[in-house]
Symmetry: C2
Subunit: 530 residues, 2 copies
Amino acid sequence: MNNLQLWQRYQDWLYYNQDLEFYLDVSRMSFDSAFVEQIKPKFVKVFQDLKNVEKGAIANPDEGRMVGHYWLRNPDLAPNQEFKKDIIDTLEQIKSFTKKIHSGEIHPPNQVKFTDILSIGIGGSALGPEFVADALSDVNPPLNIYFIDNSDPQGIDHIFAKIGDHLKTTLVLVISKSGGTPETRNGMIEAQIAYTQKGLVFSKYAVAVTAIGMNSKLEKQAQEENWIEIFPMHDWIGGRTSELSAVGLLPAALQGIEIDQMLEGAKLMDIATRQEDIKNNPAALLALSWYYGTGGKGEKDMVVLPYKDSLLLFSRYLQQLVMESLGKEKDLDGNIVYQGIAVYGNKGSTDQHAYVQQLREGVPNFFVTFIEVLQDRQGVSAEIEKGVTAGDFMSGFLLGTREALSEKGRDSITVTINEVNPFSVGALIALYERAVSFYASLVNVNAYHQPGVEAGKKAAQGVIELQGKILEVLSNAQSPLTLSELAQKVEETNSIETIYKIVRHLGANNRVTLIKDNFPQLNDLKVALR
Amino acid sequence: MNNLQLWQRYQDWLYYNQDLEFYLDVSRMSFDSAFVEQIKPKFVKVFQDLKNVEKGAIANPDEGRMVGHYWLRNPDLAPNQEFKKDIIDTLEQIKSFTKKIHSGEIHPPNQVKFTDILSIGIGGSALGPEFVADALSDVNPPLNIYFIDNSDPQGIDHIFAKIGDHLKTTLVLVISKSGGTPETRNGMIEAQIAYTQKGLVFSKYAVAVTAIGMNSKLEKQAQEENWIEIFPMHDWIGGRTSELSAVGLLPAALQGIEIDQMLEGAKLMDIATRQEDIKNNPAALLALSWYYGTGGKGEKDMVVLPYKDSLLLFSRYLQQLVMESLGKEKDLDGNIVYQGIAVYGNKGSTDQHAYVQQLREGVPNFFVTFIEVLQDRQGVSAEIEKGVTAGDFMSGFLLGTREALSEKGRDSITVTINEVNPFSVGALIALYERAVSFYASLVNVNAYHQPGVEAGKKAAQGVIELQGKILEVLSNAQSPLTLSELAQKVEETNSIETIYKIVRHLGANNRVTLIKDNFPQLNDLKVALR
């Protein structure tokens, strides 16, 4: 196509929504009209699935769950009065709690106000809050936020060192739906120790966000220890779509971010993505483009390139949302399909000086999503050269890169918003939530479960149990044991490699002694309790 | 293979280096002995190329340059006395300058000491320093560091808001080899404005890192304005391999990081990766594994999963090092090859709650590199459960995930270090620098140029020039112009799409007025200067 044909294609396919100040351009995805005609019938099911989900169908059959994140921004759509009341009450609880924290009505022992937040959670309970904090929090927010999103002792120590003297005015949010996520539980216990060491009573600083009445250990503990407050995670909200539930809204509100604007942006985007007309539905346009880009089989990676520093973590947020939702072994009929789309990216134009070399010239195994933000900054920009600002360069880099990729036959989508604010971030989250639902319908997978994550947890639990047996055997051993002796005594001769790795780790942390004759000849290695 | 066969394979292939406290395990890459026999002869060239590079051959033929990052950690290897002296003198200059900054001998006007650093650079002049600061800087370093690594006005404002009152004690490093990188130049000009607005004379706070005697505009400006100091970037150092040159060592030293340890780790790793025996050379083992994993054609992505918070940015650092080096359209003989390996990742076990679902069950288009750190933390860990620490869980998650992937036929490499410190970080950088060189030799591409980046810059410059013409035409126009009128007047009727994008951006920043009758019917859109 020549440039004028491309311009016509741009106009033909441009999606624009005035209320959202939002543009979507899929014209540089090189599908033709035959492809569109071929995929159109599939969208009959897509739109029907959408209606079923929003009406409260069991959209997650494996777990027997409804999928209700769309109700969060429009409680009138909830399938029953109980859910509707839950949503409205939770939002009210968040606002009222936030007011009390900001005013000092709720305050730490012997202190006037809370000054900082320590958020402990992982995966769906961390990536959304981290993205939103980075994108939207003021430099001087009412409360600063820190995250423990891992089980790394050194990382945890680093966070507490950063908090330093502020610990006595730091509010802790422990976020886990099941209350059983090991990393979150570990982070909480490490936090309890840190508070106790400073003579602070942890429960006076602690808030839980967890499933209510579902046997969450976290709920139980928070009740028993009389924590400051408990916020509900509803059964019909999955972790990776929980940013607009208490999981995301509570930390956002505490940081002074306008959560009503986030919800409003999402609500308007939800309305836009209910249009049963592909060309007038931005989520349908995305799903169609992904299907074209990947052959409906994950054949290409989705590279996400926001040209705005404050959207740096959006690609990591989408990585979870897209890959955990779509990366599935089986489809809904039980066929082995190995689905998914790999997602990566950071930000432009920074990445132009990194991997864009490969995007432009190297292996053509991707399509790009540019995210363009029209407003450069609050206030007027100085000129860098006559008539040219730093923001003009940003814009030029994006347009130039899009052209440069296009010339080389590398496809791209461009999402354009006016500025990064709570409203537009809410809209972006809702857009991608819906696009993932649509794409899952297209390729017929359950977007709402994560069996592979459970398997990983189980495997880790097996390692922990094996370690327990090793330590027990070593504590009863008269003399150092070789790896094969150890394997026999713990009755896991098949797991000798894992046993070696466990004792190597214990050795590095001074909990066993490794006698390294002829190392690295592992047959000669001997282990003793320290 | 059953578990015992895998254990044998583990021992057969385990690479261990006592001096480096370093292990490399490629046993879960499922190559067989036939593959090894087939690739072995290719390594004759690989090792010869290495020798040639280190002796000073023109390893980057397009740019007519030597490639000397290996000399930085062992100046005795430099091909001539001049280079050797440059390396030693630069290191001495960094140390002496750092001492003067830390002691206050060099201090800001009217202030006792510098307290903060603002580093302005992009790509190779940012990713390494950012990674090292995140991995190695103390919570309370001698100087805090901030980065401007983009041309985003809002992002720049955000950094200056964070620096706040400290601006008067903030040392600025402007890092650009050519001195002509637009993002860096823009950041510098924005910084000049910020200092001037506070009544501070920019040159009294400014340090340049740039090519000397090569017509760098940055060198010229720093000379003319009498900046505090100028550090050299040598012609034979590329951006993405510059972390152990002044680019990386200067900010590291200022933050109190032991740069001699970084160099020592890299030097020892360089020695290890000179062994002309694949099994005893960790970089050769990596290159061989990458070749197997990707079919030598980028068929699979490299997922990098460090199980340590402080290594979070390592994957982004590697993304540049690997993709910019290997992502090439043509091989050294001029054949079209579309080479490269896509790299992404963040950290474990966090990512297990994100995209590891797809890795385990979804599209099998990747191999994983686990990075394991044996030491959990400084000091003793509390028990989370009887006999189990948070660090044991981290270790268990890694081992469990490796097993879970392996069971599903998904390959992985494991790199193991004892702890994250300047020595091990230096070693990791050197390891991957060499592995990239080796892999480039295997697939016969120039690892040291980046023609696609230049093309992107040119395309952006074209957009900037077009904007200039548009603004000129509008300033002479009697009445608002349609897009096609505007395109005719700037004599770029082919570029009407870009023209629309430019005026949309100018409109959002109040520099032109868009008259939006029938919007989004773009034929009816009219533009006037504001």
